[in-house]
């Protein structure tokens, strides 16, 4: 039932809130043992004593309890710790105390590398070394001893017809194993090798247009029998330049790799020392 009571908004709200507060207090009364509950919590949770009156919370001074260590004990402890750290190396007057054992050991590879790299490797030396390695690798040179007499080697050859028998335009080869003439010596010229053979037609005998090859004997046929690549013992003269270029490139690559390793070791040791390396200059 509606009444005509004209209550203002504020009054209505005030009344409503007061009624509500009474209702809520009735619904949630304060416990009878509130004091005991609070004091139990205070004694069990609050450990620090209250400050004396007048001081604020921020003025409260908290003491940090630290063990009192004498100066001499601190020095001794520090010395023992440092000695333990430096234990791999003997403590001598010459030893730099600032260096760590790890730094000392790290310097050694650098020194070893420097000894090796004291003389820079030239391209020629590298190429010659590589050339030797290549020749050994390809096994072009026979495993036979160099002291074996040539005549004995040639004796193993089959009969070689003369150019007269062959006629013009026919190539003649000296057979036997492909390495019989090559392992006379690395530097021995080819003409000398051929000259030492007993049965060797000269270019004059063969006539113009006739090429002379060293290789396996093969049945004489009307056409040119191409040689297998692996059967050619020395590097042909026209390919010598290419081979040398290849070897030079390989040697250069090796040199670059070695330099990169040196730079890496240098950067690593500089990093340990805390030094700053200058930027590398690119040579090309």
């Amino acid at each position: 039932m509606k009444t005509n009571d004209n209550i203002s908004t504020e009054d209505a709200l005030r009344k409503a809130m007061q009624r509500r507060a009474q209702r809520r207090s009735a619904e949630c009364p304060a416990p009878a043992d509130l004091e005991d509950l609070v004091m139990q919590r205070i004694t069990s949770t609050v450990k620090s004593p209250l400050p004396t009156g007048g001081k604020s919370h921020h003025d409260r001074s908290y003491r940090l309890i630290i063990p009192v260590v004498s100066a001499a004990a601190a020095v001794l402890i520090g010395f023992l710790l440092w000695q333990h750290k430096e234990s791999p190396t003997a403590i001598t007057p010459e030893t730099d105390a600032a260096k760590s054992p790890s730094l000392a050991t790290q310097e050694m590879p650098k020194q070893q590398g420097n000894e090796k790299e004291a003389q820079p490797v030239t391209v020629e030396q590298a190429s010659q070394e590589h050339l030797l390695a290549v020749k050994q690798k390809e096994n072009v040179v026979s495993q036979k001893s160099e002291t074996e007499p040539l005549e004995q080697k040639i004796a193993g050859l089959t009969i070689v017809p003369t150019s007269a028998d062959l006629g013009p335009g026919v190539t003649m080869r000296l057979g036997g194993s492909a390495d019989t003439l090559a392992h006379k010596g690395v530097d021995e010229p080819l003409e000398q090798k051929i000259a030492s053979l007993t049965v060797v037609p000269t270019p004059a005998d063969l006539g113009p247009g006739v090429t002379m090859r060293l290789g396996k004997p093969c049945p004489i046929t009307a056409g040119v029998e191409p040689l297998q690549e692996e059967e050619v013992s020395p590097i042909p003269a026209d390919k010598q330049a290419l081979a040398e270029l290849y070897l030079a490139e390989e040697a250069l690559q090796v040199a670059y790799e070695r330099r990169a390793v040196r730079e890496a070791v240098r950067a690593y040791t500089a990093g340990i020392k805390g030094e700053k390396l200058p930027k590398p200059v690119i040579a090309f």
Partner: protein, 186 residues
């Protein structure tokens, strides 16, 4: 502030912890009513009241009698403690109330209150229960406790201007809720 109360606080700060029990006896009822005005569950009310008293004991050295009464200072601690407690328990249901508020428009200016009746008062009570706890508390402090906006600003850690604006918005929201409830009854 009463002289007895001031001496009591001085005794507690001097080390007489058991004297704090007397403060609990003096302010326990009012503090419980205060917390119950915006915390719905009884278990939560009791827990918040106890935590508030413990916090007041721990920070008793910070209390400044010149700034506010001990009860006002205690209610401020209780409000902060309740916020932490209810946030942890997720009992604010702010999202729920905000969703309800979004469905209402702001066209009403609250003129319906000019014809307030007992039924409207009851509706106001019911509508207040639907508000967020902080709004309930503001209404309780302003209308039931009849505290000044400066006092309420201290308790709620706000400022008087913001509270005034908030009161206006709460009144609008209440009017809309009442209209909504009245339409449901018809």
């Amino acid at each position: 502030m009463q002289a007895d109360e001031r001496e009591l606080i001085q005794d507690i700060l001097s080390g007489r912890t058991e004297a704090f029990g007397q403060l609990v006896r003096q302010h326990g009822g009012a503090l419980t009513s205060f917390v119950a005005s915006f915390v719905s569950q009884q278990a939560d009310v009791e827990e918040v009241v106890q935590q508030a008293f413990v916090a007041a004991f721990e920070h008793l050295g910070q209390y400044d009698a010149n700034r506010a009464s001990f009860q006002t200072w205690l209610w401020r601690i209780a409000h902060h403690t309740a916020l932490k407690h209810l946030t942890r328990r997720r009992q604010f249901f702010i999202e729920e109330h905000e969703q309800a508020a979004q469905n209402l428009t702001d066209d009403d200016d609250g003129s319906m209150f000019e014809q307030a009746t007992d039924s409207r008062v009851r509706l106001l009570e019911y509508a207040t229960d639907q508000l967020p706890p902080d709004d309930q508390l503001l209404l309780h402090l302003y209308y039931a406790e009849e505290r000044s906006l400066n006092d309420i600003a201290y308790i709620l850690d706000s400022n008087a201007n913001a509270l005034s604006s908030r009161l206006y918005r709460i009144r609008q929201r209440l009017a809309q809720l009442i209209k909504h409830f009245e339409h449901e009854d018809e």
